[in-house]
Subunit: 127 residues, 2 copies
């Protein structure tokens, strides 16, 4: 029983890691496209229907639906059918994932530069 439980836990840990990596990948793919970034920018001002999203972009409803599928599978956007209208809203979790990756890279590098600066200053102080 104990071994089975351990195996199940290991398995779910692998699944979670995989989900994180895939989500990570999907978010960067999603925001690499300028039309999808404009959809995200529009949704920061509040939920919108598919046709409300299509209008200012000057693209077809079918094209918006395709972009939305990618945004939804990446975790950046949630959509919900209310009656006959599909309402779309932002899911900040996806944005946070990408933001955290960028932040981690930048701060790791900046901390390294700071350490180098300190070491150089120490060297200078030596007799």
């Amino acid at each position: 029983m104990h071994a089975i439980l351990k195996q199940a836990l290991d398995y779910s840990a692998i699944l979670l890691t995989l989900k994180y990596v895939l989500n990570h990948e999907a978010v960067f793919q999603a925001i690499a496209d300028p039309t999808r970034r404009r959809i995200v920018e529009r949704l920061t001002r509040g939920p919108a229907s598919v046709s409300e999203l299509a209008k200012p972009l000057g693209i077809s409803l079918a094209a918006v639906v395709q972009h939305l599928q990618l945004l939804e599978s990446s975790g950046l956007v949630r959509t919900e059918k209310v009656g006959r209208v599909r309402s779309c809203q932002l899911d900040p979790a996806g944005l946070r994932t990408a933001e955290e990756w960028l932040h981690r890279q930048r701060t790791t590098w900046e901390r390294r530069l700071d350490r180098l600066g300190d070491e150089l200053a120490d060297e200078k102080g030596k007799p």
Copy 2:
């Protein structure tokens, strides 16, 4: 003379805006690729030569050079030829550009949700 100066200033403002938009675009394109993200992750630990970057990735030097060109034009990486070796290092400015865009979208949306929450609470408090 005054009109010419004004025109020159307008022109440089347009160029600056264009440069910002293009850079923005290029950074998101650059980090959409998993190999380029691995190069960025490697460079947070310190500068590296092209062959040092190629080794753990298991790809050719030519492929790394192509990725580096994209990373360099997006402002994420700077490269410099020292003797016969090309040294690559991270430029945090590019990372910051992408991070700021994501942060702006997320906080705009979260502030909107907070406002909605306050409005709902006010409504509840009314007689």
